[in-house]
């Protein structure tokens, strides 16, 4: 059971950042109408607004490099809480930004997961 959570959670994290870095407009597929994103303190609700937020971020290309991934079962209907830390390299910037991100994954019922909760914060030095 624990191994399965590790596998599912890590696969999801890889997929999320891969989409973010290579096909940002497809990130919306990971959220649902009830999903919430807090991005540097700004609260955004639902797929449409979350997708719009990602589209509007003021950079075209970026690369997430993940340092740590911690996972636990969340006891909400088979959910998984995930805590990620890493670096975000923006194209043209000298130094990468460090960030932490918390996800709460909920099963869709069709064998995959969606993001019910997503909280993103930059880690300032």
């Amino acid at each position: 059971m624990e191994e399965q959570i590790e596998m599912v959670g890590r696969a999801f994290v890889d997929h999320y950042y891969h989409l973010f870095d290579h096909d940002r407009s497809a990130l919306g597929s990971l959220y649902q109408p009830s999903s919430m994103l807090s991005f540097e303190g700004q609260k955004i609700l639902g797929v449409e607004d979350i997708s719009a937020k990602f589209k509007q971020l003021p950079f075209d290309q970026c690369l997430h490099v993940i340092s740590t991934v911690d996972l636990q079962p969340s006891a909400v209907a088979g959910g998984i809480v995930v805590f990620v830390s890493g670096s975000l390299q923006l194209q043209g910037e000298d130094h990468p930004l460090r960030f932490s991100e918390a996800f709460h994954l909920i099963p869709t019922g069709q064998g995959s997961y969606f993001l019910q909760n997503d909280i993103f914060r930059l880690n300032y030095g």
Partner: protein, 123 residues
């Protein structure tokens, strides 16, 4: 009650207990609680508090920089994301940390920590 206010009150209570009376944290966890502390997984309130009271410093002070919270689903839970500084007595520089709590309601109208993940933020 406003969820942001609840989260903020919980966070203040958690860290002031941690800093003044670490063993008192036992009331904030239950049997099914989980802590991942710098990658080490610990289960249950007794083991969690043993880990925290066994940390290699006597005195510490948490200074909270950011608190984000979101409702986690139909069970009434709340996800709380905290970042801040941890000053250890005798150390010159504070450590930066991030911590994620998943709070669940108790029948008595308060919250306990079901999931707790702590990570230091290295430069």
């Amino acid at each position: 009650m406003d969820p942001d206010a609840v989260a903020k009150a919980f966070v203040e209570h958690y860290y002031s207990t941690f800093d003044a009376n670490r063993a008192g944290l036992v009331s904030l966890y239950q049997e099914g609680s989980m802590l991942t502390f710098e990658g080490q997984k610990i289960m249950g309130s007794q083991n969690i508090v043993a880990k925290l009271t066994g940390l290699p410093f006597q005195q510490c002070q948490h200074h909270i920089t950011t608190v984000d919270c979101q409702p986690s689903g139909p069970a009434g839970g709340m996800l709380v994301f905290v970042s801040g500084n941890l000053q250890l007595a005798g150390e010159q520089h504070a450590l930066k940390f991030s911590q994620m709590f998943h709070l669940m309601p108790t029948p008595q109208g308060s919250f306990y920590v079901l999931n707790d993940i702590f990570r230091l933020n290295y430069a």
